[in-house]
């Protein structure tokens, strides 16, 4: 018997300790009970189901709109990883989205590259490179950077890129780069519509599943620690700044992928895509839907875009005010976003221990 076990054995013979609320007795099955009523997979399945059948019921122009929303949801996920999961306040996520968009637009315009097998990797790579550079500068230091430094740094990066694009003739100035040709696969061209919708949806699902794997892994636990108390986990021996730079780069990579899809779907890129407008929009998507859940980011994007679309049709003049009030209401009364109506705090945070399947393997 080891020293520790002896101590435990000795202690357990001693008098019972008063443990505050006296909840110990009833708490044992709590973990199992909450495992039995998980709502997240149900919400995820439901959203996927709706997304799969949507083009079958929508008119063509609405399918085009829905495709745009799906690409923006991909963008929202990239921000959610960085902010919702790792707690890094990035106000410049559009920098990676827009840089990739501009990059692939230039490839198409100047080099006639439109193959999906080149465009999407190129956009992803641009997002990765840009976020590694900016993240390396803002996050990697001997001591952790302050929140203000990171949020202003990302904001400034995004704003500067916007200004740069506006003033640079090669990038089309204020007008951006118009009439990008279609993305191609062999001789097939991806035009706006049902095929592009399913392409975007397929990519979103794959990225979603990869992110889901990541945030539920032990790395996800380290991210939770980073988000909750960065200083504490540094004292455990985590290289907190490295973790931040890594997740920032993963977010940038996904934003790059989304940006390149967006450029080819819209057929043009313009400076707003790089700037503060898109950077704040993505913050709102995630806040509205529920940060720290991947599906919350998707739902937030769908609802904000859907409501803006409907409002702008029906209340041509006052719709931004209505939307703003709606957003404020959610942030005031549901700070964890719409998803918190159905999702409890415990399930949102999740647990990271061995899964039941592994537990069976581990037991003799």
């Amino acid at each position: 018997m080891g020293a520790a076990e002896q101590a435990v054995a000795r202690l357990s013979e001693g008098p019972v300790v008063v443990t505050g609320e006296g909840v110990s007795a009833e708490s044992a099955p709590a973990g199992q009970a909450s495992a039995g009523r998980r709502v997240l997979p149900i919400v995820e399945a439901l959203v996927l189901l709706i997304a799969l059948v949507l083009p079958l019921v929508l008119q063509d122009y609405l399918t085009v709109f829905a495709t745009r929303v799906i690409i923006l949801a991909l963008f929202a996920i990239s921000f959610d990883l960085v902010w919702g999961y790792a707690g890094i306040m990035s106000f410049g996520q559009a920098l990676f989205f827009g840089a990739a968009g501009y990059g692939v637009a230039l490839l198409a315009r100047d080099l006639n590259v439109t193959s999906i097998f080149l465009i999407l990797p190129a956009g992803t790579l641009i997002g990765l490179t840009a976020s590694l550079l900016l993240g390396g500068f803002l996050l990697l230091g001997r001591y952790p950077s302050s929140v203000i430094f990171v949020s202003l740094g990302t904001l400034t990066g995004s704003y500067a890129a916007d200004r740069l694009a506006r003033g640079w003739y090669y990038l089309g100035g204020q007008n951006g780069i118009p009439s990008i040709p279609s993305m191609s696969l062999g001789s097939y061209d991806f035009e706006e519509g049902t095929t592009f919708y399913y392409l975007a949806l397929g990519i979103l699902v794959v990225v979603y599943l990869l992110c889901r794997f990541l945030v539920r892994s032990q790395f996800g636990l380290a991210l939770a620690g980073l988000r909750e108390n960065e200083q504490r986990i540094a004292f455990f021996g985590y290289k907190a700044q490295h973790l931040k730079a890594i997740i920032f780069a993963i977010g940038g990579t996904i934003a790059g992928l989304a940006g390149s899809l967006y450029a080819f779907h819209e057929g043009f890129v313009w400076p707003n895509m790089l700037g503060v407008v898109f950077s704040t929009q993505v913050v709102l998507y995630v806040l509205f839907g529920g940060s720290g859940t991947l599906i919350g980011a998707v739902i937030g994007t769908v609802i904000i875009e859907g409501v803006s679309f409907w409002l702008s049709d029906n209340y041509r003049d006052v719709w931004p005010i209505i939307l703003g009030v709606l957003l404020l209401l959610v942030i005031m009364f549901r700070p964890l976003g719409l998803i918190s109506f159905v999702l409890g705090e415990r399930e949102r945070v999740g647990s990271f221990g061995i899964r039941p399947r592994e537990k069976r393997d581990a037991a003799p």
Partner: protein
């Protein structure tokens, strides 16, 4: 060579001199109490040792290495661990995940992403929880624990990485008498592999578990020695009587 040697430590905050040439020497497997009146600089000295503050002057050596300018991460990797004065368990995570988070700190990135150490660490997590009488609460959020239990969880987390030196800042703050007694018992077994520096107001608790004491007053070391030596020290009695 002592395990930890801090010498000539000064720390100035603006016009306030919190530490004025204080020092601390801790041997292997030694429980060392750091005591003194409020404002004597105990917590600041602890922070300088832990890396939460950088001393204005002075030198901190740990296992024959000068760690004065090491970051907290580097100190943790060298074998030093810290329990904060204010409990900083991660309230929304389960107890299990709090311990796992501490245990997996030294896993490689690859292992973390593919959850490769999750299975091997499971037994250690459960053992730590059992050792600190928290096993039946494993899957509850840490926020649901009583204050005393949170302190235990935090000590368990600080011990998870098998440190050579553990710094405890007021471990029994806000605890009932019974909880204090148990805390003392929970700490005894770690002596076999770990030294302890403990800042504490409860002098009975300190006397019960510590081998040696260092007394600070106004940022300087007033006395240092075995518990018996300190108890019979005139000037120590004076400062405690003066303020009592």
């Amino acid at each position: 060579m002592p395990l930890l040697e801090a010498a000539g430590i000064s720390k100035v905050f603006g016009k306030l001199t919190a530490l004025d040439g204080a020092g601390l020497t801790v041997g292997e497997n030694e429980f060392h109490g750091l005591i003194g009146p409020n404002g004597s600089g105990k917590s600041t000295l602890m922070k300088c040792v832990a890396g939460a503050e950088v001393p204005t002057t002075g030198k901190v050596s740990f296992i024959n290495t000068d760690i004065t300018t090491f970051t907290p991460t580097e100190r943790a990797r060298a074998g030093m661990s810290l329990k904060f004065q204010i409990t900083s368990v991660l309230p929304t995570l389960t107890l299990y995940d709090n311990i796992l988070l501490a245990l997996q700190a030294h896993s490689s990135l690859f292992d973390l992403v593919f959850s490769r150490t999750r299975k091997t660490l499971h037994d250690q997590v459960m053992m730590m929880l059992a050792q600190f009488r928290l096993a039946d609460r494993a899957h509850d959020a840490a926020a649901t624990l009583s204050h005393g239990q949170q302190q235990w969880l935090e000590i368990a987390m600080a011990l998870a990485g098998r440190p050579r030196l553990l710094l405890l800042d007021e471990p029994t703050g806000g605890m009932s008498l019974e909880e204090r007694r148990v805390t003392g018992e929970l700490l005894q077994p770690i002596k076999q592999h770990c030294s302890l520096v403990i800042v504490e107001h409860d002098l009975d608790f300190i006397r019960d578990i510590c081998d040696r004491l260092t007394v600070l007053d106004q940022g300087r070391v007033l006395a240092s020695g075995t518990v018996a030596e300190i108890q019979s020290n005139k000037s120590v009695q004076e400062i405690y009587l003066r303020r009592a």
